[in-house]
Amino acid sequence: MADDDPGPAAYSQALSGKRVALVPMAMGFDLAQGWAAYLKREVEGWGGAFETRDPNWSIEAGAQAITDLINSDQHPDVLVVHSPDLNSYSKLLKKAQAKGIYVILIDNPANFPADAFIGSDWDRLGQLEAEAAVKACGDSSSKQIGLVQGDQVNSSSLYQYAGIMKVLAKHPDYKVVAKPDSNWDATTARNVTATMLQQNPDVCAIIDFWDGDATGTSASIRDAGKQGKIALVTTGGGEKTADCDKLESGEYTAVVTTELHKQSGDMNALIKFLLQSGQPAGTSKSYIYTLERAYTKADIKPDTCWDVKALQAGK
């Protein structure tokens, strides 16, 4: 008779009762709600405790939440952090690691050697967007591209821009005619796009850096009567109403989705790995980039997008 598999006992001993905390930039948007739903199910599944904090887009509130978590009697064993910019949380996260808390950065990279970064390679993501835009424009087009950037501090915005410019450098006949910031706000995106289209009526594609404000950009294209004539490429979490429905309706031409289920799967795997590894916090430094692609109306399938309502309801 064979011995019992030693795996489950070791697994349960290492994990059971461990605490995982997620501090996103806000809990009110699709990706954060998706990550939280996947993490909660998994962590509670192996007998751990899961909690979230909602800084509601405030960097100060996020810093406060992280400080509270680090200093609480029952501090988390793993801290999953969605950083708003490159530097704000670096000192705090270092403190967390000094206390033995594993730190996993998600989605937005930061100037901090976390135990793992899980999310998009934003440079690559920008390249995918630019390739989709070039393809949508075509050889006979004006080859004029407009950008609606996020801001000038968020790493996802800065690296996305770098990636886009790399691809366009390979297509010297393409020109970026305007690159305003939306500050991630849909009304601003609409206003700057309106101006961009009046100044450059021949733009063949616009790349907007986030689906959260691309609704404004698409409103502006629609107002100019150019929906279908100007390609709109953006990126988002792949939520159904935010992305796939808009690809179906023609508002968006291509969306590079950040593949929520794969990203969340990676997070869960890394949490389980780190907790069993026995290595002190702050000793490993891995980048777990999500394999991404640009989806267009032609290649979306029923499971391309996810539905935040269904996910929260546990379906």
Partner: protein, 354 residues
């Protein structure tokens, strides 16, 4: 009336706006295109509408820091109800009732609770955001359901001009009529100019305060629905943006003093147009957002400095030596002197510098 009157802040702002407009027209290709001019007005329509409500509150010597929260959260709640399958009329009815309740609560706290407006509305704005965000809606961004009337409103055009511009113009006209020709509108000025005197002459000051905050809340709802109609969704993150400061900026830059009692709808329109021209020109030149904020702040500082150089404060009364609202001040004095014997006589003497 001194020669200084020629350069009131309102005129300085108008002059700045005209100057910016002229420079942009000469230097920026496409600036003068009809579509661009429409887009300038459109880009400040919602801001302007919110500033109308704020102006009415500020002229009456108050401030409403809850407007952006009310704007975003009322529209978000309305859209959430629609998405949950409520009928349009029921959803709108409930939302309007909620907005009225908030306006009344703000006014009640300020008028009867004697809570300073700045604290009452700061707190109620945070409450509205927190309550609606946590209890009534599920996401930061709520989409407009397909085929809703807001969708048609957002895409409707008359002579190529979007609906927002007409709503702004209409709201400005109604606000003008209210302030200029109704008894309640005149009371707003009286109360802003001298609250004690207004109370002494028998103006129902407390109900009037409540009325102002209700008007402001209802205007915020209109602005929220307009925003939703043009973006086909409302994102409640706008509550954390600089929109609230932009609204106050439009009101103050237009020349409506925060101490109340002066200014009018013209000032709001002037302030809104200046901001609109500035933002549009900077976007055409492709100036990054952080610099845009810098320019905006610099223009505001210039306007304030020029105003205080040309119109120095009167040490005795701690108010501007020149009032671009003298006609109405006389109006006020007449009311006060006729209305209430000795106290108002005293008030009149003070005003006349005695």
């Amino acid at each position: 009336m001194t020669g200084h009157q020629v350069w009131s802040q309102e005129r300085i702002v108008l002059a700045l706006a005209v100057l910016l407009f002229a420079i942009s027209a000469v230097l920026l290709p496409g600036f003068l295109a009809a579509d661009n001019l429409i887009s300038i007005v459109r880009s400040v329509s919602v801001l302007g509408i919110l500033a109308l409500g704020m102006a009415i509150v500020i002229i009456g010597r108050g401030i409403d820091l809850a407007v952006v929260a009310i704007m975003a959260m009322s529209a978000a709640w309305y859209l959430q109800l629609l998405n949950d399958g409520w009928s349009g009329a029921a959803a709108l009815g409930v939302t309007v009732a909620g907005v009225l309740a908030i306006g009344l609560a703000n006014g009640f706290l300020i008028a009867y609770g004697d809570v300073p407006a700045i604290f009452a509305t700061l707190a109620s704005g945070a409450f509205v955001f927190g309550y609606v965000r946590s209890q009534l809606i599920t996401q930061d961004a709520i989409p407009v359901p397909r085929g809703n009337w807001l969708e048609s409103l957002g895409s409707s055009r008359l002579f190529g001009i979007p609906a927002e511009v007409f709503v702004f113009a209409g709201a400005a006209f109604v606000a003008y009529l209210f302030l200029r020709y109704t008894k309640w509108g005149r009371y707003v000025y009286f109360m802003g100019d001298n609250f004690q005197a207004a109370r002494n002459m028998g103006i129902p000051v407390r109900p009037m305060i409540m009325l102002r905050y209700v008007i402001s809340a209802l205007i915020a709802l209109v602005a929220g629905l307009l925003t939703a109609s043009s973006l086909l969704s409302i994102n409640t993150r706008v509550v954390n943006s600089t929109l609230l400061y932009d609204i106050i900026l439009v009101v103050v830059i237009g020349g409506i003093g925060l101490s109340g009692g002066k200014g009018g709808i013209r000032n709001v329109i002037g302030g809104a147009l200046l901001i609109g021209i500035m933002l549009n020109a900077m976007t055409i030149i492709d100036i990054p957002n952080i610099y845009q904020n810098l320019f905006k702040a610099t223009i505001l500082l210039i306007a304030i400095i020029v105003d205080s150089l040309l119109n120095p404060r009167d040490e005795q009364t701690a108010s501007r030596a020149t009032s671009d609202y003298t006609g109405d001040a006389n109006d006020l004095e007449k009311h006060l002197c006729c209305g209430d014997g000795c106290r108002s006589a005293c008030f009149c003497r003070n005003r006349n510098g005695g």
